[in-house]
């Protein structure tokens, strides 16, 4: 393959109508500069001889042939797309967790990790949910938003959550939790009742119809 240009060139021959270019064959010959290439090469268009092929090493016949023809599986070039984040989930949204140990808890959404999972925190002091990853499908997004501008979540990624030492929670993780929560708790306390709201669990009561509820 010839070296690719850094930016693709616009066509030298714009379409007047589909199928009809602006410039004629002779004009295009001139525009492409084929006359200059020929001039540099002494009136003849340069021709490169095909590169000599290196002699292929003689393949030894295999010792073993399978009894039936073995089919080669088809090549799969599929690249999975990054998980689409629902439009209702933005940094600072209060989410309701629907499954797992913290089911029913209302937590604050921080950011979406590269694996597609959502990084979420209680904050820990308010409802006992630590910095945690959660799947978008097990979450209801409410329309309540918390101001998250004072929080730095750059350093958290999927590797942070890999579990090597299952026994003890390292001090560093506790410090990280405290740092993230400090700024969050301040902005939460600015809104009346929001702290109690996050501390309470969500549950369906009699008469509540989930398909009619506005979250």
């Amino acid at each position: 393959m010839a070296a690719k240009r850094k930016t693709p060139v616009k066509t030298r021959n714009p379409d007047l109508v589909r199928g009809v270019g602006k410039y004629s064959r002779s004009k295009m010959y001139h525009k492409r500069g084929l006359w200059a290439i020929k001039a540099k090469n002494g009136g003849v268009f340069p021709r490169h001889d095909p590169k000599p092929k290196s002699p292929a090493t003689a393949e030894k016949p295999p010792k073993f042939y399978p009894a039936e023809d073995v089919k080669k599986p088809l090549l799969n070039k599929r690249k999975p797309k990054p998980t689409k984040l629902r439009a209702s989930i933005t940094p600072g949204t209060v989410l309701i967790l629907l499954a797992g140990r913290f089911m029913g808890k209302r937590v604050v959404f921080l950011k979406q990790l590269t694996s597609g999972l959502l990084l979420v925190t209680g904050p820990f002091k308010i409802n006992g949910v630590p910095l945690r990853r959660v799947n978008q499908s097990y979450v209801i997004a409410t329309s309540t938003k918390v101001d998250i501008s004072g929080v730095n979540v750059e350093k958290f990624d999927d590797k942070y959550f890999s579990k090597e030492d299952k026994k003890k929670l390292p001090e560093e993780k506790k410090e990280n939790q405290k740092a993230v929560d400090a700024a969050l708790i301040k902005s939460i306390e600015g809104v009346p009742d929001l702290k109690a709201y996050l501390a309470a669990r969500f549950s369906l009561k009699s008469g509540m119809k989930p398909h009619e509820l506005v979250f």
Partner: protein, 134 residues
């Protein structure tokens, strides 16, 4: 038990079915036994089956099939909007709409307010009980 609300030209009705659900419309003409020509300031004049309408107490003074401008003026003169919003039926609908649009945080705050109010009521009640028993 006679009827009090009649279908007449100028009767304001509430649409209870279909695309215009919940809207107030004015009957501007009667098409036949089952259908009325109906109009409102923000919709195109069209026919509606009476079954889709619930009559209200409000009527306005209009000629048969008035122009949109005349209709709007007559509605302003009769002050349909305020009469409706102050009537107990209209107020109930407004409250229903508000309750349906509460978000999860609002429902939580509502619960706190209800508990607080119940606490105040219970305190007063216990005071009264003490007064009567003593």
């Amino acid at each position: 038990m006679p009827f009090k609300r009649y279908v007449e030209i100028g009767r304001v009705a509430l649409v209870n079915y279909g695309k215009d659900y919940g809207k107030l419309v004015v009957i501007v003409d009667v098409v036949d036994q089952n259908r009325a020509l109906v109009d409102a300031p923000d919709m195109v004049r069209g026919q509606m089956n009476f079954k889709r309408l619930t009559l209200t107490d409000i009527t306005i003074d209009i000629p048969r099939v008035p122009k949109k401008k005349t209709l709007i003026e007559a509605m302003e003169k009769a002050d349909v909007k305020n009469k409706w919003e102050n009537s107990s039926w209209g107020r109930k609908l407004i409250v229903q709409k508000r309750r349906a649009s509460l978000n999860d945080f609002d429902r939580f705050k509502l619960m706190l307010a209800k508990i607080k109010r119940a606490g105040v009521v219970r305190q007063e009640l216990s005071k009264l009980k003490k007064d009567t028993s003593s």
